[in-house]
């Protein structure tokens, strides 16, 4: 069964091109612009949690950070931010404390820069420098204001005949505040490490984009899985097979195995191109992380999940046209939602929830953990379990809905 389908597949140049050449074309088309952009000024993404929500000072601080030009500040919710950081989907996080707005002579506030262990130290250092710079600038302004307010209070409290302050008094006051801010800053930046074991990994944009497209296209292969089942069902050959003593489950399995193998080969091919060809074009070389077994297992589960999805579509669609239409829509939408084009951590809250319903999102999280953050098998077990679950669920519904008549 399987061997025959592979032979049929090999005769079908069009689908081979679709399966292997198109993904690579996509990666190249989408990586080249990033290459051009990254050679220019590339803003560093700064996820920021604002615990002093609504405070004008906090807003001012955020605006000031954005104005520096080198940073792209994204305000996100605390819980999500921590989760992302824990998962390693982001590598650092800036947190403004609740009491940020109450910064003053008698109240020092601390802005925290929380770093993932895998964050590049050089990048962290520059972020910290920018944060400190902005904080200082703001604190000085703020301290001066505070000082003048103090003078006003003193003036109000003093008897009328003493309410004479010369310019010297102001300058003296300001100077002492400056000294003050240097020795005892109103805003300090503290750097903490998020709790997670990991290793530093050298990687470039390739490690983020390539798995995205590998996942997108492996799941697109679910379409050819579905089509090969539905088409065989419509062709007379299905009757012949049904008339043979071959059991119905081995019939389905025979249809699924070649597509499963095709999925595996797609990943291998895409990764191979990313390792061997991209460097020749001046792009980053794909790094395979530290845990080849976990990578293999992830790939196997992604392929299984795609095959299950194909069976699911075959169980629902009645005709090849339906299967084709259904799978194009479902697979591209799932791919987009699942973060194959656009990282999920940049999506809004509700969209992110929807995203986590797609197998793509879980597949990408596993690949990111392995390839971007240098995680190992233990780190991706939950993702793999969920992928397996989704795959089994798809396959079960597909088999249940599948009519042999």
């Amino acid at each position: 069964m399987a061997l025959k389908d592979i032979k049929i597949l090999l005769r079908d140049r069009g689908s081979l091109v679709m399966s292997f050449v198109v993904p690579v074309a996509f990666i190249l088309a989408l990586s080249l612009p990033t290459l051009a952009a990254s050679s220019g000024s590339d803003a560093i993404l700064i996820p920021l949690v604002n615990r002093a929500q609504g405070d004008p000072l906090a807003d001012e601080f955020i605006a000031a950070l954005g104005d520096t030009g080198g940073l792209d500040v994204q305000v996100i919710e605390a819980e999500r931010a921590n989760a992302l950081l824990r998962e390693g989907d982001i590598r650092w996080l800036v947190e403004l404390p609740e009491d940020f707005g109450r910064m003053g002579l008698d109240h020092q506030v601390t802005v925290r820069l929380i770093a993932h262990p895998d964050a590049r130290p050089t990048t962290l250092e520059s972020i910290e420098r920018v944060l400190t710079g902005v904080a200082k600038g703001m604190a000085v302004n703020h301290q001066l204001l505070a000082a003048f307010e103090q003078l006003d209070v003193m003036m109000d409290a003093a008897p009328a005949e003493y309410r004479v302050f010369t310019s010297e008094t102001y300058i003296a006051q300001a100077r002492s505040q400056m000294e003050n801010s240097r020795s005892r800053p109103l805003v300090s930046v503290s750097e903490t490490q998020a709790l997670r074991a990991g290793r530093e990994l050298e990687f470039g944009a390739t490690n983020l984009t390539v798995p995205g497209f590998a996942v997108l296209f492996v799941f697109l292969t679910a379409q050819s899985t579905a089509l090969s089942i539905v088409q065989e069902k419509r062709a007379g050959t299905f009757r012949r097979i049904l008339a043979s003593p071959l059991s119905r489950s081995s019939l389905l399995l025979g249809k699924l195995i070649p597509n499963f193998i095709l999925c595996l080969l797609q990943v291998v091919f895409v990764f191979a191109v990313a390792i061997l060809v991209l460097p020749l074009l001046g792009l980053d070389r794909l790094s395979l992380g530290y845990d080849p077994f976990a990578l293999l297992l992830t790939t196997v589960l992604v392929a299984l999940c795609s095959t299950g999805l194909g069976l699911f579509i075959a169980g629902i669609a009645q005709t090849p046209t339906q299967a084709g239409a259904l799978s194009s829509v479902v697979l591209w939408v799932l791919g987009a939602l699942g973060g194959a084009f656009y990282p999920t951590f940049l999506m809004s809250g509700p969209l992110q929830t929807i995203s986590s319903l797609t197998p793509h999102a879980w597949a990408l999280r596993a690949y990111n953990t392995l390839l971007v953050y240098g995680g190992g098998l233990a780190d991706v077990l939950p993702e793999l379990a969920i992928l397996a679950g989704i795959g089994v669920a798809f396959a079960a519904i597909g088999t249940w809905r599948f009519s042999f008549e």
């Binding site: 025959k4 009757r239 003593p245």
Partner: protein, 334 residues
């Protein structure tokens, strides 16, 4: 020996519509059995149920003593299916197709290769065995289609309209293959068709099917003998006395005056050898006879005795087509 196939009150419905509506018949081992019926009669549906492609709605059937539902695997191993529609992978070669269909019956290795070669040889496709099926002619595709149902050497072969859309050469080849399979290997064959000539030529017994039911089942000969043959004789002179004398012949059932037949009023395949430019002054007599050949001898003898000149002679032998027309009031092919 137990019958190779016993079908008993088989029903198969699509929704409320009974495509097969209580079919029963038995086939003996080594028999070539014809299932004759017009489009939509339910022939293919009968075969689908018997081969386990569709479950029956009710009724039972046994192949070689194995119930087709309860002992499906055993029943399936005994039969082979050659579907009505081409059932091959068009981009693969005949050899690849055959190897695949052999493999799903559990064949492998040298045995598989041997059988594939033997079948390619049987249907005469050895030369083109490695070309993709899509480059074959219609007749070659049909032949490959037949070969694919034979690899596991079934004892009972279902051939569903194997000659539809086939050129005379391939048709002849297919008939030859069917004969050889039956005679050399003793294979039992259930052959469906709406070409009565094929069934008359190949089959021992025939079931005539219409609207999901079998309306007649017997040997071709007995079915045909249900109907009388017709002899039209054109005579110089035919009076009442002559008609009485003709009707009195033991081999003639009736003799009546008939209007001169218009050639165009007869269907082509019934026309036979029509009268050749009959003179204007003659009379037509229509005779009905059970055994046309024998009555013809008697009729010609009688007319010779009486010195009456025969101007024209036309014989309409009964055939399955007429039997079908007689039974259903419909033609086999519209």
């Amino acid at each position: 020996m137990p019958p190779i196939l016993e079908v008993s009150d088989l029903v198969r419905k699509y929704g409320d519509f009974a495509a097969v509506d209580g079919v029963s018949f038995t086939m003996q081992e080594g028999e070539v059995f014809g299932l004759l019926g017009p489009n939509g009669a339910g022939k293919t549906t009968v075969i689908s149920v018997l081969t386990g492609v569709l479950p029956p709605t009710s009724g039972t059937a046994r192949i070689g003593g194995h119930d087709i539902v309860r002992e499906q695997a055993a029943a399936k191993r005994l039969n082979g299916l050659v579907p009505q529609d081409l059932a091959l992978y068009p981009t693969l070669s005949a050899r690849d197709n055959l190897e695949f269909f052999g493999r799903i019956y559990g064949l492998s290795g040298a045995e598989l290769r041997g059988r594939v070669d033997a079948m390619l040889d049987l249907v005469g496709l050895e030369d083109r065995a490695d070309d993709p099926i899509e480059r074959y002619s219609g007749g070659m595709k049909r032949r490959a289609n037949i070969a694919a149902g034979l690899l596991h050497q079934p004892r009972l072969l279902f051939l569903d309209e194997p000659t539809v859309g086939v050129d005379p050469q391939s048709r002849h080849h297919i008939f030859e293959s069917v004969r050889r399979l039956n005679q050399e290997r003793g294979m039992s064959i259930l052959y469906t068709s709406h070409y009565m000539e094929e069934v008359e030529l190949l089959c021992d017994r025939v079931a005539i099917m219409d609207q999901g039911r079998i309306i007649a089942i017997d040997t071709v000969k007995s079915l045909v003998s249900m109907l009388a043959g017709v002899i039209h004789v054109g005579l110089r002179k035919a009076d009442e006395e002559l008609l009485r004398a003709l009707a009195a012949l033991p081999t003639v059932n009736s003799a009546v005056d008939a209007p001169r037949p218009l050639r165009s009023s007869l269907p082509d395949d019934e026309a036979g050898d029509g009268p050749v430019a009959p003179p204007a002054d003659y009379q037509m007599v229509k005779l009905e006879a059970g055994d046309v050949q024998r009555s013809l001898v008697d009729v010609i003898a009688l007319l010779g005795q009486k010195g009456i000149e025969i101007v024209s002679l036309q014989v309409l032998e009964p055939n399955l087509e007429n039997v079908f027309l007689h039974l259903t009031g419909k033609r086999l092919r519209e």
